[in-house]
Symmetry: C2
Subunit: 770 residues, 2 copies
């Protein structure tokens, strides 16, 4: 395991330039602001191994599906997030030598990500191959206040002298994806030039025709003077650059501030892009680096006020949870309901920047509990894709809506039949998120105006996807893949069947409420969706007769039909060389083994803790956990929460550790490809829903808190129905404060308490189990 970074509550600090792990560091130091983002690659030239990725949310390329054997229903393309113009770059020339930390000598290296302020800084002393010596530093941020803006500041101090310095900031649109086929390019150049002090570059994505204008304008500081731009604007269609030259005496310093605006035709008229980008970047330059940065920090202050988690007595845990929250906030801020949360965010290209079920099944509560408007936009995203989800179901000869497994614009992008066509439980997590949002916020506005339509189409889907088994005299769901993707094409996955049953039940319940309380709306809905009483009765019938596989001997629900026919080996029986299974075992070997990739039946109990009593919850956990290899980074946190529910507190903490610093410690040895953004929420969930036991029960908030033995305390913020709450758990004591809003009743453990801004709750935590 890596142990690269200093323990620090607010910063990620790297004290050494490690060429072997450059891509890893670049992933960790990624910045983003929902609109755009980029990996922590260097501004200056770097001739060593590097993965320069710069991405714009929602800008993708439809890469044609390639499979050996086509199956009817496969999607035509996979949406790839496109590597876009490198806008941080600047060449630095020192007495004719290119600054390149892969050559010469680098000392006093320090890279620092300040998570509180969203600032990436880097400094080092460089001795050139010819012996010239400079101290160099870079700072960059992507504005959270105006997301189309970013800025870089470069300082160079001559440690030997005098030195002639040429700094050439540039925009480079001649970039390719790491994962393009046959080195394909995804951009066409569409103009470049200058407007006043701004240089611009315009590119159009192939096939999708997204237009992107990138503009830069620079301020050069030396002896408190500003220097003029040298007349050296670049003639290449994919490149804009300007060179600044200065002579430095020994110990003298120069600085260059580069302001950049990135605007796309997703947000503006294509014809206006260049003008708007240049105007915006000139205004930013006019405002200045520090004021621009202050505006940015103000947004971060707000984010941390809403969603910070403090852990006492474990600085590495503190660093880990803040890093995760930081990356989640960078990736998705809920400003734009056309966007969603890609599994790698802006930190890499893998998974194409697309939306997975990760959003609803894992990430959703973090946004919901800290800022419901952000969560609402995630639901609007799915509502906006409802028509395409209906098309998708029709493509599989089914009714209603099947949301895609992977998407960027509502169309399915994945092309393995066992996933694309069979991992249909994804529909369930979307219904659950609607329910979760509505219950937690107490607000039926989304449900009544959009969610109910989604629910109707999801129910229609399930009603057309079940079939009736004569031997079982029950409705069954055949040929599915559950959350455990180490089983394919199984019959009656418990999680899937249970969610289908619950979706039908919840839809009927909410339709009943609407019919009783909002007759006009209900009537209108009936007309719009052609919903009939007969259809509702059919759903009721299916819901009542849904088959759920169960082992009566062990008194637990079974992951799927026939699971017990497998050799019941345990994870403890595996050898180190077996891990990870998907890299060491052939697929059939994995499929017929009992090993579970990630929470499956246990995921159901995470969603619905009351599905089974505590004794059965424990029996289930005791059965499934020793069979689970957690080869999805989404798995340990869910198991951790269920362990907390079951009172397995040590186990809960052990599982929490597997997600707490997944990327910082490069737990899965693949962070170089990018960070596991959607998994990052896991440690937050494990603390809030696990250790603190946060639950919503009807219209009541509930906690069942305890303190992991390894910590001396933790606290976090949530917002419950317009009441900002602060929760602190220390050894033996639970303190809940309400910062504003109406009084309420909360439950802690088995007792209820009144809570208001003037009346905090002080309650004992549950005793740590032996």
């Amino acid at each position: 395991m890596f142990d690269f970074f200093e323990a620090h509550p607010w910063k990620i600090v790297e004290n050494e330039l490690r060429p072997d792990h450059k891509r890893f560091s670049e992933s960790i130091f990624s910045l983003g602001n929902e609109h755009m983002g980029l990996r922590g690659f260097f501004e200056e030239d770097y001739s060593g191994d590097t993965f320069q990725g710069s991405y714009i949310a929602g800008v993708y390329y439809p890469d044609p599906t390639k499979v050996g054997w086509w199956k009817n229903g496969y999607p035509e393309f996979f949406a790839k997030v496109i590597n876009s113009t490198n806008w941080v770059g600047m060449h630095v020339c020192i007495d004719g030598e290119r600054l390149d930390p892969a050559h010469g000598q680098v000392t006093d290296y320090r890279a620092e990500l300040d998570m509180k302020q969203g600032l990436l800084s880097r400094s080092y002393v460089w001795t050139s191959p010819c012996g010239k010596k400079v101290a160099v530093s870079f700072q960059r941020f992507l504005s959270m206040a105006d997301v189309e803006l970013g800025a870089v500041r470069c300082e160079i101090k001559a440690l030997s002298g005098p030195l002639s310095i040429v700094v050439t900031p540039y925009l480079d649109g001649d970039v390719r994806n790491l994962d393009s086929n046959y080195g394909e390019k995804f951009w066409d150049a569409a103009g470049h030039g200058a407007k006043e002090d701004a240089l611009y570059l315009k590119s159009i994505s192939k096939k999708t025709h997204f237009e992107v204008a990138t503009a830069m304008s620079c301020r050069f500081l030396h002896r408190n003077d500003e220097h003029d731009l040298l007349p050296q604007s670049c003639s290449q269609p994919h490149r804009a650059e300007a060179a600044y030259a200065v002579g430095l005496a020994e110990n003298e310093t120069m600085a260059l501030e580069k302001f950049v605006a990135v605007l796309t035709s997703r947000d503006h008229e294509a014809g206006d892009l260049i003008d708007l980008a240049c105007r915006k970047v000139l205004q930013a330059k006019e405002l200045g680096f520090n004021p621009l940065f202050s505006n940015h920090v103000a947004v971060w202050d707000q984010k941390w006020a809403e969603a910070d988690v403090i852990i006492e007595g474990d600085v590495k845990a503190q660093q880990g949870i803040r890093y995760n929250i930081f990356q989640l906030q960078q990736t998705y801020a809920g400003r734009d309901s056309r966007l969603n949360i890609g599994p790698k965010g802006f930190t890499g290209e893998k998974y194409g920047g697309c939306t997975y079920w990760d959003t609803e099944a894992f990430c959703f509560p973090f946004y919901l509990y800290t800022n419901k408007e952000v969560a609402r936009n995630l639901l609007v995203y799915r509502y906006n894709h409802l028509e395409r989800a209906k098309e998708n179901a029709r493509k599989l000869q089914l009714k209603g809506a099947l949301y895609p497994m992977v998407t960027i614009d509502g169309r399915e992008c994945h092309n393995e039949w066992e996933i694309t066509f069979e991992e249909i439980h994804r529909n369930g997590a979307i219904a659950y998120a609607i329910y979760h949002y509505t219950e937690y916020t107490g607000d039926t506005e989304y449900l009544d105006s959009m969610g109910i339509e989604v629910l109707i189409e999801l129910s229609r889907f399930w009603a057309s996807r079940v079939s009736y088994s004569e031997p079982k005299q029950k409705f069954v769901i055949l040929g599915v893949t559950g959350p455990n993707e180490y089983e394919n094409n199984v019959n009656n996955n418990y999680y899937t069947n249970m969610l289908a049953q619950w979706t039908l039940s919840y839809t009927l319940q909410e339709l009943d409420r609407l019919e009783r309380t909002k007759k006009d709306l209900f009537k209108d809905l009936q007309d719009r969706t052609q919903l009939t009483r007969q259809e509702e009765l059919q759903w009721l019938n299916i819901q009542q007769k849904m088959y759920l596989p169960r082992d009566e001997e062990r008194r637990i629900y079974l992951q799927q039909d026939g699971y017990l026919d497998k050799e019941q080996k345990l994870v403890a029986d595996l050898q180190p060389g077996d891990y990870p299974l998907h890299k060491n075992w052939s697929w059939d070997h994995i499929l017929r083994s009992p090993y579970i990739k990630q929470a499956d039946t246990i995921q159901a109990f995470y969603f619905f803790p009351k599905l089974v009593d505590r004794a059965e919850l424990r029996r289930s956990f005791d059965f499934y956990e020793p069979r689970t290899v957690h080869e999805s980074s989404l798995s340990p946190s869910v198991y951790s929460i269920v362990a907390s529910l079951a009172g397995y507190e040590e186990k809960a903490y052990e599982l929490y550790l597997r997600t707490a610093r997944l990327d910082l410690d490069n737990y899965n040895h693949d962070t170089e490809d990018g960070c596991h953004i959607t998994s990052m929420v896991g440690s937050w969930l494990a603390i809030v829903q696990g250790f603190a036991g946060l639950r919503f029960e009807g219209n009541q908030l509930a906690f069942d808190p305890y303190l992991p033995q390894q910590w001396s305390g933790y606290s976090f913020k949530i917002n419950y129905q317009n009441r900002p709450l602060s929760i602190t758990v220390t050894s033996g004591e639970f303190v809940l404060k309400q910062l504003s809003g109406d009084p309420m009743i909360v439950r802690v453990g088995s007792k209820t308490f009144p809570l208001s801004p003037s009346q905090a709750v002080l309650a004992p935590t549950r005793r740590a189990e032996a």
Copy 2:
């Protein structure tokens, strides 16, 4: 359905040039001789739609595997049969106009495939766009006597005149595969030139480095003179050509005979290829067209004497069965045990010219019953691939040998996990073929020297692939795909489990025989294979406790666990627009449906008719047949045979019809891609094993013959343990004649009869059922 061809017992005749169906005709008129083959494309230029394919057995290109999502264990390449030098081509120029039947006017068109002699002839009258008129004819054959030779004869008669004619026969190596990616080429040019009267071209296949020399030499006939070659040998690296010019008066005729030799480094030293090819082609020219043809016809005479089937009272059926036999004999003749039977033979590129389980499961009996040496070479092929099959099993973390699903050189070529890793029943058909060969020939030589090693490794595979189910207290085989590929990753496919059980049992039986009767050989085998008593006991245990899914209510074996949980719809419930399912339904829809692609449980009863009694055979047939869509061309014949066994004679004939003229009538609308060579055997099997009820039972040959009502009689030849037999079935009478060899006892129906060259068997047929 097509009805293009005249009914004729020995010929396939097309009386019209149909540009819309050109590719279909080209498939039908394909010629081959095991060493090489080519589609029936035209010798002269043809600017309309055409698919010019010319192939050499065993010469392939390893096309890298392309999948969206890689699974551990996938093969690195798919072996593609390579389109090779077009050696029949000749340009014809008539008074400066190119002969091209796609232009001008074509009348009196006739294409004729003479199956008795293996000759393709074509003639027509062509009026050029400028009004010149000629009668043209072409004849071609690929020598069955010397398989490296082919010849084309072209005759041109001036119907208007005088005409200046230039004929330019050529070899064109600048060819591509229809299915190449990005127009890739698979050949490098490696020399061209002339030796004496021969022109040659040498090509080397990319990556695999097969070297191929093609040489041609021509005889030009006009007024009984031979004309000299014009000094016009071509300078392009991929091309050799020579031009012959002559003036024809009206009604005068010229002819050109083109002799071609195709030699490869598979059979000769690469350095000698050019010399050998030129020498061979010059000898062929010296011998002359007609003598060369006579040698070729003599081999066909022998083939027909061994394997002809005569059908009385149905010329189209006669034509169909002969066409099938003709193509089977062209594709594989057992001369070269490095070769096998590609599903399209030399008639197309689909399926890459590779070997599938079709060979053992379907084609094998045809060769075994007509010429056991040919069948033996098919078994030697698998023995020679045993080491690679062992590697393949190890790749899947299994013991013993797993033969590839698709192969050209022993390595797996298929890349769908549900097939490659799970359609493991293919191992069973190989064991069955060894058993079939040994029982039918009464000769244990192959078994003792090679087959037993194959059986040991197959048994080892099964022993490592089963697992023990605690709930069932039986050995189970989880995660397989049976012959019915419309189910994937099922548990306990009856066919697979049964064959695994039988293989273990048969292996143990033969090991016991060897131990008792050939102690030295057995000892040597033990040493060579590290076989232990303990291992044999383990096999015995598995064999005794193998689980076979069964429905006790219906009293039939079930295709797999959970089959009855499906909605029990029938083929009769499908709509015309549903066919074929794989083109109209998404894959998950197919998988969860009850529809069966091809004989699966029924295939088991085809192999082992005594597995169940006749009543259960009927119950099984009655259950499975109405659920089977026969979307594999291999399916109806197997069902037909089992229908014959069950006494469902009308059904047997109905199913027979679906294979009888599969390609001639373009039943599946895809013959343009090539003919269904391996399926062609189906009609032969349906007659011999179905209608005539040929069986081997221990050391006794048995028949249970009947005559389909639609026919007035049929007869066929087989060879049983060096006894050529002729079987004739007419209304009510069965006549079995032995042409030579030792006397024997045969069973017909329930009675036994002595048989010898001097004593034929005359017996009644079974009564046709109502």
